[in-house]
């Protein structure tokens, strides 16, 4: 429903004419995140410059019962930063400053639109970095990372975003501008900061973030090991964890992905291998040396074809470039794809990879795999061509079977991408009614009038369950998983 002229004027009074997008073509830019199947343009996009403006926007929208949808950089993969029910989108891109770097307290205060990588770039000279490293980190925002509780390759050792958020400034769905947590590491009362991280803007909008800064490790060693089959690589992952070694990162890429990366960005991955593992150790140099020998031995025991250690920072950067830009080269492989983000207990990795291969064969589809193996966080990419009749349906069935298989093994629907619109209908596979009811009531405590990012995260909302509409064009290059 279009917004009334009065409401548009009131929005403009808050953010100024330069901070409001109302034209049809302007709003089109905001109709989807990186999951381009789900489209829903907001009725207006507000670009506030302060927390007070955000608070005024939310209060106005609450009064008018208009949906509020937050957006950072729009790099999410779940249909999160889009407006299925219209309403006002609040884009944080103009609130993108570092407010304070506090090295003695090892923390930083930033605005939500700050690009993830900018913070590490600003602190590395002093020996610190921001540990959460989603593959999108060169463009995704820290507010978005916090709202989705983003992961990344190095969260195997360092933990996901929530482990690095000390405090938040938020505007709740009730219109309250409040500070949760802070520079101190604990405080009395409920951990509202912890609840807010990963809430995907359904409880509040994030207007400020206090993050932990992590000391840059003394050394780093990046090992690329290639294997004849994905089963060998999976067994290797389980064996490394079983040996009590938690690398900084432990990533797997299968043959299909290796080929696409080599044709796309050329990271120097060995062609012809069934799978490669990208293993990174960091920490005190003596510890790295002590850990790399057993890792290499485990790789050899599992029939590694080649074990290569990056000899320079340039070589290391190239190996990571291949991994981080993997999704961006999929346009070379397939016109369309579905992406899973399910998790399995890490000992079940060999088992689930057999299932993935079986499901692909059963549905005559290519399923490419590039994922955070050490965490058991899969990213099977189900390739299809929507011009071929029936292929989308087969892809959807394969997708459901895969998710079911992960949950039967004791897993979780999403490890790091979040729920959004995409996975909200899947929550009942993991949670009983009582569990979902608890979450719905928690939401009500923050958002009494259900205006905050409606249709996302929980399955009960009427906007959920609507089938996705395949996009005419493939996913854009520059998508990160």
């Amino acid at each position: 429903m279009p917004l009334s002229p009065q409401l548009l004027r009131a929005l403009e009074d808050i953010v100024g004419p330069a901070g409001l997008v109302v034209s049809a073509e302007g709003r089109l830019t905001y109709e989807c995140d990186m999951h381009t199947f789900y489209k829903g343009a907001p009725d207006a996009v507000a670009l506030p410059e302060s927390a007070e403006q955000v608070a005024a926007l939310v209060r106005l929208c609450r009064r008018e019962r208009v949906p509020v949808v937050p957006r950072g950089s729009g790099t999410g993969l779940i249909g999160g930063a889009m407006a299925p029910a219209g309403g006002v989108m609040v884009s944080m891109t103009r609130m993108n400053r570092i407010v304070e770097l506090d090295f003695p307290n090892r923390c930083a205060t930033v605005q939500p639109g700050l690009i993830n990588l900018w913070l590490s770039e600003a602190t590395r000279g002093r020996g610190y970095f921001f540990a959460p490293d989603p593959s999108s980190q060169m463009v995704s925002s820290i507010g978005g990372n916090a709202s989705t509780n983003a992961g990344g390759p190095h969260c195997l050792k360092y933990g996901i975003t929530v482990n690095h958020i000390l405090g938040l400034e938020v505007v709740t769905g009730a219109g309250e501008l409040v500070r949760l947590g802070g520079k101190t590491h604990e405080r009395p009362g409920y951990d509202l900061t912890g609840v807010m991280v990963g809430a995907e803007g359904t409880l509040a909008l994030v207007t400020g973030v206090i993050v932990r800064l992590t000391h840059v490790p003394e050394g780093v060693k990046t090992i690329l090991a290639s294997f004849p089959t994905i089963e060998d690589a999976s067994e290797t992952v389980s064996a490394i964890i079983r040996a009590g070694i938690i690398p900084a990162a432990l990533e797997m890429l299968d043959e299909v992905v290796i080929r696409a990366i080599e044709e796309g960005v050329g990271a120097g991955y060995p062609k012809g291998a069934g799978a490669v593992l990208l293993i990174e150790l960091d920490g005190p140099t003596a510890e790295i040396e002590a850990q790399s020998a057993p890792i290499e031995a485990i790789c050899r025991d599992h029939l590694a074809l080649e074990i290569r250690v990056a000899q320079s920072e340039a070589e290391r950067a190239l190996l990571w470039k291949g991994r981080k830009e993997a999704a961006g080269v999929f346009g070379r492989l397939t016109p369309n794809w579905l992406l899973q983000d399910a998790v399995v207990p890490r000992s079940k990795l060999p088992q689930i990879m057999k299932e993935v291969l079986a499901i692909a064969a059963r549905h005559r589809l290519v399923i490419a795999n590039v994922f955070h193996a050490g965490d058991g966080n899969l990213h099977p990419l189900i390739c299809y061509d929507d011009r071929v009749p029936g292929e989308l349906e087969r892809a959807k069935r394969a997708n459901e079977e895969l998710l079911g298989a992960c949950l039967r093994l004791g897993g979780s629907v999403t490890g790091e991408h979040g729920v959004g619109l995409d996975k909200s209908a899947s929550l009942p596979m993991q949670f009983a009614d009582a569990d979902l009811n608890f979450m719905a009531r928690l939401r009500r405590a923050f958002d009494p009038d259900s205006i905050m990012n409606p249709g996302k995260l929980l399955p009960s909302h009427p906007a959920c369950g609507e089938g996705f509409r395949p996009a005419a064009r493939p996913l854009p290059t520059g998508t990160w998983i």
Binding site: I245, D375, F431
Partner: protein
């Protein structure tokens, strides 16, 4: 009570069996919370029994206080009401443990010592080590957000609790989180439960992330002649490439109580890694200490288990400020204690700005202790965004100071909405949590 005490005891006995609780008269005394004696104590043997007990209490308008090992019942304000103590010590089964996953699901009444014995044969550990906490239940440690020296590397229960089964105030058995190490499916309900003192739900089963036990571990005591020297060393340590896994800071009194050699102030550090790396870091640690006028001596790893002695006594305060100000707060606490005429022992978490202040004797004059130590120190901490929690104190002191301190009205309003949403009748620990929630 809506019905007679006798009828309630009968109904509870029907749920758990007569032999599991329902004490009479004097036997209830030890279960008093801040002097409030319950009408019944009940020891359920399964999550389902917990659910039925809480549902019964909710229906009858009874107030329930969950209890683990009972070591930290002094935390919080005196209960507004208390009818039934729900002792969870029989809930101690290991539900699921696949060592290859480094994840375990255990019942909440299991003690940390018992869990450690389960995990040790697989060279794994749960990295929650509140001082003297081996006898504590894991559910209690999580509900009170207790932590210890291993926090330095591994964080707290907030970072380690992956999933939780809990009983809501109406008796509904509910699950939140996941059983895998990484999940963002739905709200992070376990975060809400950590540190909530059982006011939103009774933890009955928890899924925890475990860590490998390092192949080698050594510990050092680094003594300093002054707070300033210790502070400079700590700042240098945090900015160095050294990666201790445990850290604690003790004043002379705490060192004495823990049977360690005394200095005005000392840090205890342990490094766990491959043997060669431990050796290498140990040398670097000694050099760094010497460079700051400190002396590092290796101590046996058993020192960590002895830290609980530093915190014994009837009064325990928990001061939290910005991490960089830790040594300043040590000085402030010592000065305030001197003004109040008491001898404190101080144990702190370096890097986290958490300082525990233990007093060995009860207050002769509680009003004076509150007005000279607790309240001024709290005001100073709160002025800088910190807090001071009375973790343990005789009721005489609690009558002079709130256990939690001031909470900003806007935050308290949100917390009250959450509490009201889930426990409108005040079944779970009414009155004990912040703002009387």
């Amino acid at each position: 009570m809506a019905v007679s005490v006798r009828a309630i005891r009968e109904a509870l006995a029907d749920i758990v069996g007569r032999e599991h609780g329902v004490r009479e008269g004097a036997a209830l005394g030890p279960y008093a919370v801040d002097g409030v004696v319950p009408s019944a104590v009940v020891r359920p043997g399964s999550p389902d029994e917990v659910s039925r007990i809480v549902a019964l209490c909710a229906a009858e308008g009874l107030a329930v206080a969950p209890r683990g090992a009972g070591t930290s019942m002094g935390l919080g304000n005196p209960p507004r009401r208390l009818d039934v103590v729900l002792e969870l010590s029989r809930l101690r089964a290991m539900r699921e443990y696949v060592p290859e996953d480094m994840v375990a699901t255990v019942e909440a009444g299991a003690t940390l010592d018992a869990l450690a014995a389960h995990f040790a044969p697989h060279h794994q550990r749960l990295t929650l080590d509140p001082p003297g906490g081996g006898v504590r239940s894991v559910g209690g440690v999580l509900a009170t957000h207790a932590s210890g020296p291993l926090r330095f590397r591994y964080g707290t229960g907030r970072d380690l609790l992956l999933g939780a089964r809990f009983v809501q105030a109406d008796g509904t058995l509910t699950w939140g989180g996941a059983k895998v190490v990484k999940s963002v499916t739905g709200y992070d309900v376990p975060k809400l439960l950590v540190g909530s003192l059982g006011t939103l739900g009774v933890l009955v089963e928890v899924t925890l992330r475990l860590q490998p036990v390092p192949p080698a571990s050594r510990s050092w005591r680094v003594g300093f002649p002054s707070r300033a020297a210790a502070g400079a060393f700590l700042a240098a340590l945090l900015a160095s490439h050294l990666e201790p896994d445990r850290a604690a800071l003790l004043d002379a009194a705490a060192l004495r109580r823990a049977a360690l050699a005394t200095d005005p102030i000392a840090l205890l550090l342990s490094i766990g890694s491959a043997a060669a790396a431990v050796e290498h870091q140990g040398q670097a640690l000694a050099r760094l200490a010497a460079g700051h006028g400190g002396r590092s001596d290796e101590v046996p790893d058993t020192v960590w288990a002895g830290l609980g002695a530093a915190l014994d006594g009837p009064i325990l305060l928990r001061a939290v400020g910005e991490p960089r100000r830790l040594l300043d707060w040590v000085g402030e606490a010592q000065a305030a204690a001197a003004r109040a005429g008491v001898q404190p022992a101080l144990l702190a978490q370096p890097g986290h700005g958490v300082l525990q202040v233990a007093l060995g004797e009860g207050p002769d004059d509680p009003a004076r202790l509150a007005s000279r130590l607790v309240l001024p120190l709290r005001r100073a901490l709160e002025a800088e965004g910190g807090s001071l929690v009375v973790e343990r104190a005789p009721i005489e002191l609690k009558s002079h100071c709130d256990a939690w301190g001031d909470m900003s009205p806007d935050l308290l309003a949100i917390m009250a909405r959450i509490k009201t949403e889930f426990d409108p009748g005040g079944v779970l620990n009414p009155g004990r949590f912040v703002g009387g929630l």
